[in-house]
Symmetry: C2
Subunit: 162 residues, 2 copies
Amino acid sequence: MFRSTFLMSLILLPLSTMAENKRPSPSNGVSYPQGWQNWAVISVSHRTDNNTLRLIIGNDTAVTAARTGNTKPWPDNSIIGKVVWKDKQLSSWPAATTPGKLMHAEFMVKNSTAFSNTYNWGWARWMGTEQKPFNKGMQSCISCHQPVQKQDWVFTEPASLP
Amino acid sequence: MFRSTFLMSLILLPLSTMAENKRPSPSNGVSYPQGWQNWAVISVSHRTDNNTLRLIIGNDTAVTAARTGNTKPWPDNSIIGKVVWKDKQLSSWPAATTPGKLMHAEFMVKNSTAFSNTYNWGWARWMGTEQKPFNKGMQSCISCHQPVQKQDWVFTEPASLP
């Protein structure tokens, strides 16, 4: 029994250490939302002022809120993610713009207790494929979101889905 | 025992009938892929020739293939979905284009046995929020995909993700 437990530790330890190493450090004190690459979609967008394509995804709480119109305000524990790529022309269909270089993934984490000083949202961003955390504070995020303070600080309007 | 089973049937029957009624009819003989609204993302795109935004998603087989570079060819049982919306300007950020009216959701279903006559793919489309099946045959889909016959008939190049 002791022996098999010991052997199990030897097998499991390297795996868990690897997983731990892979998780990026917090951004602005907000933990990295793991598994977002498989979250369901809330919307997409294309910005012509900085030539970027955007994917807007959410955790289960946020996606349920988006699809039931329960976003004024978004419920506690919602996490909304926005993935941003530079524009790239598709060679097989030149009138199509597709994702080029990954710029960053940014997240709004709703928690009216933990983030009561920042309009009930935690604001975070991780840059590039290496997901380097942004740590210059939440104020720069909040400044840009001023135009939508009356819609719970969220630009995204959920896309129509059947 | 009999009584409780009977009562269970009364409760469960309306639910299953409702679910059955909600599933759209096949398109070009291809069954409607249920649950695609929660599938993970492969890419996004914006077409300036017809002013539409597109979300490209996949079932587990397709997403795994996309993220491991196993797309030449895509493996059997891959389903790739493309959701298409008309452009809409975002009022809170005018330089952003976002999803307006839902046009259609279209799918390529890889099955080298069932679809050996159509390049190993089943080609299907359901239109509008009511998801009305397209039933004019697969040839019109295939014609448009001619430019990418050498990349297993798929336009989408998977987006870079961390």
